[in-house]
Symmetry: C2
Subunit: 472 residues, 2 copies
């Protein structure tokens, strides 16, 4: 559980005790349902203290009327009460000596009124005077498997190496869920809302030195203190991949960001320039960002830009060639000797063996022939990565055949010291979805990236190949 550094934010992820202020046994009490229960379900082992005026026990836990009544020290408090009651809770936390307070309540600077800004400022002033840190307001706080903290009981208990910084609460939960099915686990995920005290810059700085974090993903709307943020981003992005989905570049997006997190979103042009200069990676949305996180996790090393493609379908072979080339790769043409080797099992007509290897409809998705082609082209020195594409809906394969295909690709991949990835299309039908999900898990477990489309595969691989950090 020990971290190998000494950053001021470190303690926040390993509190000895947590108070959930506002948790009661009333039906539909969000503090209990949204925070206390997940914490219990997730197996938080320290002190858990529900706080409500009646000191009525919640989910079997003894409650207190105020946080100041708790007999033990409180390291972390979650404030989930109506906005008008937040300040007095903060005062109590200051008296109690709480180290970090996560303010879930919203309606502060993001509501666009002077009153809202003033109330937020008062919270921060009070906290600073007491040496207490504030996460939020308007956020769901922390997921840290090692610290047994979570904002959602569905999050994996297993820890990993991705750190998330998100201004959106829903997107914090969703990103963890999207990553879970991609084999990606987290060191920490932090929803920080308005970022009135702890903000993106400090969190990025923290995850930059956190030895448990190998990759940083972020959903951001605004940046406070652009100069300092740029410095930190440049430093961190040179040692770890930093992937950022940023919103609020259009007029309507800016308006939404102001009313969501009171963020000033800045200029898109400057942002793009900063990211490029810093070597950070831009994502368009959370699905793309989770595919990118998987890509960086499963492809730690990529020795060159030459890709071999194996699959069935002439149209797909043409489009994937375009996509992969546009993403910055080359598809070397296979020489006659390799073509001859391939033609030992790839039919002569209606196929291709120049790269892509394109099977005919009759042999497409064959559980034996496709892995054989991966063996042949994967071992070539001129190839740095093998991309297999497979369309689950089209080939009407049996379940057993698909499983055999999956196993074959895993076996071929194990023989190679270079990445094998799969674009697994399944045409949108629910039966295919279930099978695709199952096969995808097996492939990912074996270290094989799986993408939902040819274009997504090309996009993610291109961004992976373009990452120049971590080499100096």
């Amino acid at each position: 559980m020990a971290e190998h550094h000494n950053h001021p934010l470190d303690g926040m992820f390993h509190p000895r005790s947590v108070a959930v202020i506002g948790a009661s046994d009333k039906e539909d009490n969000w503090a209990a349902k949204g925070f206390l229960k997940p914490l219990i379900d997730f197996g938080f082992t320290g002190g858990i203290y529900p706080i409500n005026p009646q000191a009525a026990p919640v989910l079997g836990f003894k409650a207190y009327s105020r946080v100041t009544e708790v007999p033990e020290p409180v390291d972390f408090a979650i404030v989930s009460v109506p906005k008008g009651q937040v300040f007095s809770c903060i005062e109590d936390c200051a008296v109690k000596g709480v180290k970090t307070v996560c303010v879930y309540a919203a309606g502060f600077s993001e509501n666009g009124t002077e009153q809202g800004r003033d109330e937020e400022a008062r919270i921060i002033d009070k906290a600073r005077a007491a040496g207490m840190r504030i996460l939020g307001p308007n956020c769901i706080g922390i997921y840290c498997p090692e610290g047994h903290l979570t904002f959602n009981a569905e999050t994996p208990r297993e820890a990993g190496h991705v750190g998330l910084i998100s201004q959106s609460g829903r997107y914090s939960s969703e990103f963890v869920a999207l990553c879970a099915q991609r084999g990606v686990r987290f060191s920490k995920a932090i929803s920080y809302g308005n970022g009135s005290d702890i903000n993106e810059t400090e969190l990025l700085d923290y995850l930059g030195v956190d030895t448990n974090t190998h990759l940083i993903a972020s959903y951001m709307e605004g940046v406070k203190g652009g100069q300092r943020f740029a410095e930190v981003l440049r430093r961190v992005a040179s040692i770890k991949p930093v992937i950022i989905t940023k919103g609020g570049f259009t007029e309507a997006g800016r308006r939404a960001a102001r009313s969501h997190t009171a963020s000033l979103t800045g200029s898109e042009k400057l942002w793009r320039a900063l990211l490029q200069q810093a070597g950070a990676i831009s994502a368009n949305d959370l699905e793309e960002m989770s595919d990118l996180a998987m890509t960086f996790e499963l492809i730690p090393d990529l020795k060159g830009d030459r890709v071999a493609v194996v699959g069935a379908g002439g149209g797909a072979s043409v489009l994937v060639s375009d996509f992969i080339t546009r993403a910055g790769f080359t598809l070397p043409t296979f020489g006659e000797d390799i073509q001859k080797q391939l033609h030992q099992f790839v039919p002569l007509s209606g196929t291709g063996v120049l790269n892509p290897v394109d099977f005919s409809p009759q042999t497409s998705g064959d559980p034996v022939l496709t892995p054989m082609a991966v063996d042949v082209v994967g071992k070539l020195e001129m190839v740095n990565l093998v991309l297999v594409h497979y369309s689950l809906g089209h080939f009407n394969s049996t379940r057993a055949g698909v499983q055999q295909f999956c196993n074959g690709i895993i076996e071929s991949s194990r023989k190679l010291n270079k990445p094998v990835v799969v674009a697994l299309e399944w045409l949108g039908y629910p039966d295919n979805a279930a099978l695709a999900f199952e096969i995808k898990q097996q492939w990912i477990k074996a270290g094989i990236c799986v993408y939902p489309s040819l274009s997504r595969a090309a996009l993610c691989l291109g961004k992976r190949a373009g990452w120049l950090g971590g080499r100096g």
Copy 2:
């Protein structure tokens, strides 16, 4: 069944009889499995004649040793024999007076040899001399529900108004499958492979005058006779939406296109200019093209560029605002009176009512409140389209709740004389996939476009709004 025009290709879609040359009862005989059986299963009502040297009956149908032996006239023949036997089959078809021959066999001009080109030229010469038309070689032919023709027994029997022209066989089948789940049905789909006789230009010209075809989609690699194609495209795209996915713009893509369909792919710059000038619509891949087909089918009329967005999640509200704005729309800010109306049921904190309408996590995905918001903003004169977004995985809704939500959106949509569309995200989990699929079908049946992501919704709506054809 009658077409309201008199185009030379018209008869090809309504043959009175079909010969499947190469069909036998041998195990794994592709002509029987891939062509004869689908034709029977699909309910083709005319004469069906398997042709094999032994004249051995296939699937209960009397067979003949050569097509010349068939006692009745043969309008359409499918040639699925080894390449070396194709020419003699063509000779027989010419003698028999077959009107159109679909050559499935591959290994002609696309194999890159002089011999392949010569053999293809000989077929065409022979056919021209006999007044016979050739589809292919290297194609799977025709799907035409009205003519009871198909290349795949899984295709819907119900006819519709989309025409497909595709150089890829697999993509022909896949596009029909992708469209089926989007409520999109076909007038005709034609896989034309190398296009040695009947090519993209003639097919486009035909679908342009075909009164049963309201929208044309196409997967193309090359264009033969660029000048004439450009003329036809300009004419057709000015009266019907023409959506084209074109491959082969990079060096590797060109190589793949040559070896797939012997296509010369041309310059991307000229292609883009042609499409723009003609008012045709470009798609990146088949999934996007099928979402576009759905969009054009379900949104016949769009009166302006002003969009109202309703959903839950501050991050999603920010990103969708950016996506929708970039796609060419505006999100008008709701005035105070509308905000007040919305705040009668949208909570005050952690929400937004300026446009997007953004519910708090507690009320997100509420089956009653979201439709209520659609009612309020949908009836505004300043709004031309309502985009609802919903994340199935995140809100942990019950099945009944999701169904109620679905019904509510349909009811709200029915009250409005403007499009309501939904971005339905479901986070990749198979249980969600099944439910999402079911709900999607219901919405589409009610005329509501459903997209898998915010960015796809914005992209398709933008291309729909940008289509200027059909207005003169």
